[in-house]
């Protein structure tokens, strides 16, 4: 009976096999050529096969040697941080840097439990002002400060 003894190795192996397979499937339309006249598909296809080989090696090893369990994923920080980034990206051109920065700070703060709302709001205002002064006025980065373009 096959038993996965090293789940982290199996996970990594499967990721590699998937990337290698994608490299081959999506590279099918590229001319392979020959060694003397390498086409655009030559090197990527070669790499993809090597990646699959490494992936399979890891998968086989995961059945043979013991390894630590995969750490549990804590969704709260992951989701909050990603949401904060996306909100910033969606808002910056509409509302300007100040508001986008403040919202990013507030959403990101909820990546932790027991948020102190007052402290978070103060931090949001502080960071918004700081980034506008430093990045827009100080470093003249191409960002709208107060309103969208």
């Amino acid at each position: 009976m096959l038993r996965v003894r090293s789940p982290r190795d199996l996970g990594a192996g499967l990721v590699f096999v998937a990337i290698g397979a994608a490299g081959i499937v999506f590279g099918q339309g590229l001319t392979f050529g020959s060694a003397a006249r390498m086409g655009p598909g030559y090197f990527p296809t070669l790499l993809s096969y090597l990646i699959i080989a490494i992936g399979l090696l890891l998968a086989v090893r995961s059945l043979a040697t013991d390894g630590p369990r995969i750490e549990a994923v804590s969704f709260r920080p992951l989701v909050a941080i990603i949401a904060a980034i996306l909100i910033f990206g969606a808002l910056i051109n509409r509302t300007g840097l100040a508001l986008a920065a403040a919202l990013l700070t507030i959403v990101a703060a909820y990546a932790r439990r027991d948020v102190d709302l007052k402290e978070t709001l103060l931090l949001a205002v502080g960071l918004a002002l700081f980034t506008v002064v430093v990045f827009v006025y100080g470093l003249s980065q191409p960002l709208p400060a107060w309103w969208g373009r």
């Binding site: 060694a35 490494i54 890891l58 750490e71 996306l86 990206g89 910056i92 931090l123 960071l127």
Partner: protein
Amino acid sequence: MDVLQNLATGFGAALSLNNLGFCLLGCLLGTLIGVLPGIGPIPTIAMLLPITFGLDPLSSLIMLAGIYYGAQYGGSTTSILVNIPGEAASIVTTIDGHQMAKQGRAGAALGVAALGSFFAGCVGTVFIAAFGPPLAAIAQEFNSPDYFSLMVLGLVTAVVLAHGSVIKAIGMVLVGLLFGLVGTDVNSGVTRYTFGVEELWDGIDFLPMVIGMFGIVEIVRNLEQPELPRTQVSTKLRDLWPSLQDFKESWRAVLRGTGLGSLLGILPGGGAVLAAFASYTLEKKVAADPSRFGKGAIEGVAGPESANNAAAQTSFIPLLTLGLPSNAIMALMMGAMIIQGIQPGSAVMTKRPDLFWGMVASMWIGNLMLLIINLPLIGIWVKLLSVPYRLLYPAILLFCVIGIYATNTNFTQIVMTVVFAVFGYILVKFDCEPAPLVLGFILGPLMEENLRRSLVISRGDPIVFLERPISATLLALTVGIIVLIVLPQIRKSREAAFQE
């Protein structure tokens, strides 16, 4: 003397008011992020890349280099006083440094760390000045097959010296190489793996990838773990100067650490982190009484702290002379140079001597600045440590995102960052370090081009890699290294070195 004349040019360039300012800025930022746990030099340099667009190439390289070696100084402060490494290269310093602080010798530990770092930094700078030109001269002889073999050697060494599993690191390098090929193929004009996304025609953007995989993943990982209680040792830092006895006990360790660090820095795949670990192991081996280690042995601070700073300096050698980045930070520096329109390699030294020598000179100036920043001003840095992570990470996140958006005011960049953050997070859960991937990514197009050219010359016969003496030597070295890691005994000692 040629070197002296070159150094004079370098100091002339580095001592301009503008460049002195950027050197100081880099050193201050480096110390800051070195002191603060939870943010290292890789995301900081990535974050600052967009700002360097508008700068003159020399100024931006001076600043970015300052961040890297500045972080080595700052990292020791946190390790010694709070028992949390401020930076990966200072992990070993916590072992004996914090014990010293508990015994009321924090001043001596900090003083020895800073003075050792300064000495090592000076020696490292001399190393670059001495070994840079001859290596660049050798590199002039390099042809496509030699470059290809050099990259193979560099990537293999990087993999062997990386943390964790060698097989996974190889996989990550290969994935990085593949990612590097995304976009328009220069030879045929065909777009590869763009999936109809116009933004991918020029390839995967470096910044969203690096910030996603290092910066964002780092924040999420820190938030996952419960915040460590910071047991700060409140010492009077009045007498920072180590006693004569401290000097007597540590000068040999400083010398050994500097030598070891300088050598390990040059190796592809080496760098500050590896140097610090190796130096600690060495100090323990040569000590008359190894049982003192872990209980506040001053050599355990002096050696690794010198080694990490020496290595931080000398790891610039392969980048500046061969155009080959030896670790993820150097890959970022290479990215910064390419952004500025400079192809790193031996040509830099002949075409832009002011750039090479200016950087060398700025490193020495920077080390002097760091000594001043770190010794008398240490109280300020220690105060910064009382800023809790819950106030810090939103600011770090914000700077990361602004950096990405300011480079290319496009929502796609933000989405790419999120994609790479999730990808990097999954890989970290499976114990795959992202650093080898970045190295592969930078080298992907170069490697393909040199492979293509080599095989065109030889009409498809791979024997060309063995016929040229330089290439054959490099490949022989590569095989030698692979044989070494296959030998189980060596593998064991490598693991032991990383575990300590």
